[in-house]
């Protein structure tokens, strides 16, 4: 750790370890991990009592002092690797990358390297895998690979996770490893054992991919400066990933935070309920009571609140463009269903259909979006979103679902493909309900641009920007009944 603060350009003025720690905290803050000065002082204390030669201990120690929530760990780890790198340059690895020719700088023998990788993946040796990742990135970046048009010599090294993973393509090793494993057993393993082994290997391959990515991030930080890399290449917290640009893995991660999020909302709601148990002053009863004390209102009377558990009607765009957002919101509503007396869910693309039965308690929810698209009648013409006709079919067939007791929640980006927005029907629906709200996953500045009818709809009912799970949670919390 003695090299801290001297790595690469852009590291800023070196103030020794304290300055470096402050830089690190600054980077965490830029990634929206709230760290106060008190925590920074704690971190400094941690560094003084730990042995700095044990990198993993320093990592855990700083995490204990700086983090306050489990979702922040991924960001922390990525930044920690940048600010407290395990090695400088190539490091001193034990693994020799096989090369063509005798020299130390010949192009890499991809076939042999893949065999080596397959062995390590089969044996589940994490430390060796990390070593291999480091050596492979180094060798491929410096010397290139033989015979695949990727030979390099003399040029400046270039670190690329894409190139390394394309050349190694660890996914394609799966079948080979499975064959090896089967050959090691005498009898044919059952389908179940086979499946377990396959998934275990697949998980290890995913781990190896992550190692390559980490390693490339570290090497790039050495050439470009870590501020640059921290800005662009460090993953976001799940809650701050934008729905519209999330990829499959991030969406899966999001689904995992639905229940914690719902629990958090429900408990905050419980606190709000407790504080709001007493209603407002009841003038009439207070004055009536004051008669017995000679007109002095000694004991004020309050209205008692009726716990309002409204019916919730969710109208939800499930077309491809907003599917991730809709899915997440529906899961959240499902998790919060105890807060409502009745929840009805309608999906639409071009027309509307009821899908409440797919969200019954105990239903298997991870594949529910596929079932919605498969089983519900959502398309009538070409499969592009048509908000106007969807509102029309909803009002026509399920118009009685919205009553003065119900709250209407519309989810979608209001991109109507330049069709008729059918404002009259929506106005009538909004007029029939107690509350109506629209949650839009697009950034506010894009509302009304192109084929978006967001601004025209926003005139009729409050529209909220819900780009991330964090934002969605805030909006939903504000909307939930007390």
């Amino acid at each position: 750790m003695s090299t801290a603060g001297t790595i690469g350009p852009g590291a800023g003025p070196a103030h020794g370890l304290p300055g470096h720690l402050v830089d690190f905290v600054g980077a965490l803050r830029r990634h929206r991990v709230a760290v106060g000065p008190g925590e920074t002082v704690d971190a400094a204390e941690v560094v003084t009592v730990l042995d700095l030669l044990h990198r993993e201990q320093v990592r855990e120690g700083l995490a204990a002092a700086l983090l306050r929530r489990s979702g922040q760990r991924q960001v922390f780890d990525a930044l920690f690797d940048l600010y407290f790198p395990a090695a400088i340059g190539a490091g001193s690895g034990e693994v020799d990358v096989p090369r063509i020719g005798d020299g130390d700088a010949g192009p890499v023998d991809i076939g042999a390297l893949r065999d080596l990788l397959a062995d390590l993946l089969r044996n589940d040796d994490d430390a060796a895998l990390a070593e291999l990742a480091r050596a492979a990135v180094e060798a491929l970046g410096r010397s290139g690979a033989a015979g695949v048009g990727a030979e390099r010599s003399g040029a400046a090294p270039s670190w690329s996770a894409y190139q390394a993973l394309r050349l190694l393509s660890p996914e394609t090793l799966l079948a080979q490893i499975m064959d090896d494993l089967r050959a090691a057993h005498d009898e044919e393993p059952s389908r179940f054992a086979d499946e377990i082994a396959r998934r275990a290997i697949r998980e290890r391959i995913a781990r190896f991919r992550a190692m390559i990515n980490d390693e490339v991030r570290r090497r790039t930080a050495e050439t470009l400066g870590r501020e640059q890399v921290a800005r662009t290449a460090v993953p976001m917290q799940a809650e701050q990933v934008e729905f519209l640009s999330a990829y499959a893995e991030q969406l899966a991660q999001l689904r995992r935070i639905v229940h914690p999020l719902a629990r958090r909302l429900a408990s905050r709601l419980a606190v709000r309920r407790r504080h709001a148990k007493r209603g407002e002053l009841d003038m009439r009863r207070t004055l009536r009571r004051s008669m017995s004390t000679g007109g002095v209102p000694i004991k004020p009377a309050f209205r008692t609140r009726r716990p309002g558990r409204p019916e919730l009607v969710v109208l939800c765009d499930v077309s491809g463009s907003v599917a991730g957002f809709s899915h997440f919101t529906l899961l959240l509503v499902q998790a919060l269903r105890e807060q409502f007396s009745k929840v009805r869910v309608f999906a639409f693309v071009e027309r509307t259909d009821e899908v409440t039965h797919l969200f019954e308690p105990g239903a298997e929810l991870s594949g529910v979006m596929n079932r919605v698209l498969r089983e519900a009648r959502l398309v009538s013409f070409d499969g592009h979103s048509d908000y106007g006709s969807s509102f029309g079919t909803f009002a026509e067939y399920w118009g009685d679902a919205v009553t003065p007791r119900s709250s209407l929640l519309i989810l979608g980006d209001a991109r109507n493909n330049y069709r008729d927005p059918n404002l009259t029907v929506l106005r009538r629906l909004v007029g029939q309900t107690r509350h109506a709200h629209w949650l839009n996953p697009e950034p506010r500045r894009q509302w009304g641009s192109g084929d978006s009818a967001a601004l025209r709809y926003a005139d009729m009912l409050p529209m909220h920007e819900c780009r991330t799970a964090g934002q969605l949670a805030d909006v939903v919390e504000a909307l939930l009944p007390v």
Partner: protein
């Protein structure tokens, strides 16, 4: 802050070693944070899913340092009288009646609010003990927000104020450990005073060692298969992912049934031990081609 006291552990490695002697196999994260909590005199807030050994950790720390364990189990509606201290009203009444007519009110009052009539609850007990103590505040997330406020004084200054008697300061700082299942967000004020440890499922190597140490009669190959299967199950999107406790239970079940391989039939009949929801079992069976 009370008098400086010698730390319980000398180094992180020593923590690992002594916890292992007490039967708790600690990861680097656990060992480091325990060491820091002791060294910096800060409470340790442990968060994580059920069944990863949060409460066990407190017990192991107590055993490893031969400290007494004082446990405050939180639940909804727990209050000061259950957590901190309470006056023994019945005994006070008896005392007043017994002394009636023989002594003045002032004497009686001073006597009635004294040590003898104080019923210490876990927090006060932990503060007053002079022997080494581990204070475990279990499932703090179940308690109401008001209790957190109560804990602030205890955990940051290690003192308790009893209005009638004055402030009681810890003569020896207890090792405080709070656990939470994160069913709700704890207040920032409380979190800021603690070191934070997110205890997650251990890695494969560590889990194998944990199972082997808890169910020593189990064959090594079976432990290996068990841990691999459980790890695959955790990757599925289940309502309740199996935890370490469930892996151990599964091992015990297989042992009790006298099964020595984890073949399809064994899994089919005992899957209920690890997956407690019907829908999870169905999903796992379908995805892992168990039919």
């Amino acid at each position: 802050m009370s008098v400086p006291q010698s730390p319980l552990f000398g180094s992180v490695a020593e923590v690992t070693e002594r916890l292992a002697e007490a039967g708790y196999l600690a990861s680097t994260a656990v060992a480091t944070t325990v060491y820091l909590a002791d060294r910096l005199g800060k409470p340790l807030l442990v968060e994580g899913p059920a069944g990863v050994g949060k409460t066990e950790l407190a017990k192991a720390v107590a055993a490893a340092t031969s400290s007494g364990l004082v446990r405050l189990q939180c639940y909804e509606g727990i209050d000061e009288a259950r957590a901190l201290y309470e006056w023994n009203h019945a005994k006070q009444l008896l005392r007043i009646t017994a002394g009636q007519g023989r002594e003045s009110w002032d004497e009686t009052r001073d006597d009635v609010f004294s040590e003898e009539f104080l019923l210490p609850r876990p927090l006060l007990t932990a503060i007053r003990r002079s022997a080494p103590t581990v204070l475990l505040v279990d499932e703090i997330d179940k308690a109401d927000v008001e209790v957190e406020g109560l804990l602030l004084e205890v955990l940051s200054d290690f003192q308790v104020t009893v209005p009638e008697m004055g402030t009681i300061v810890a003569s020896r700082r207890p090792f405080a450990l709070l656990t939470s299942n994160s069913t709700r967000e704890l207040s920032e004020a409380l979190k800021r005073r603690c070191l934070f440890l997110h205890l997650d499922f251990p890695d494969a190597e560590l889990e194998r060692r944990i199972v082997a140490s808890r169910v020593p009669q189990l064959a090594e190959s079976l432990v290996e298969a068990l841990v691999r299967t459980v790890r695959v199950l955790r990757e599925l999107e289940l309502r309740k992912a199996p935890s370490v406790a469930e892996t151990i239970d599964w091992g015990r079940t297989l042992l009790a049934l006298g099964l020595d391989t984890l073949d399809d039939d064994a899994v089919r009949t005992t899957l209920g031990v690890v997956l407690k929801h019907q829908s999870d079992q169905l999903k796992a069976a379908a995805e892992l081609r168990l039919n």
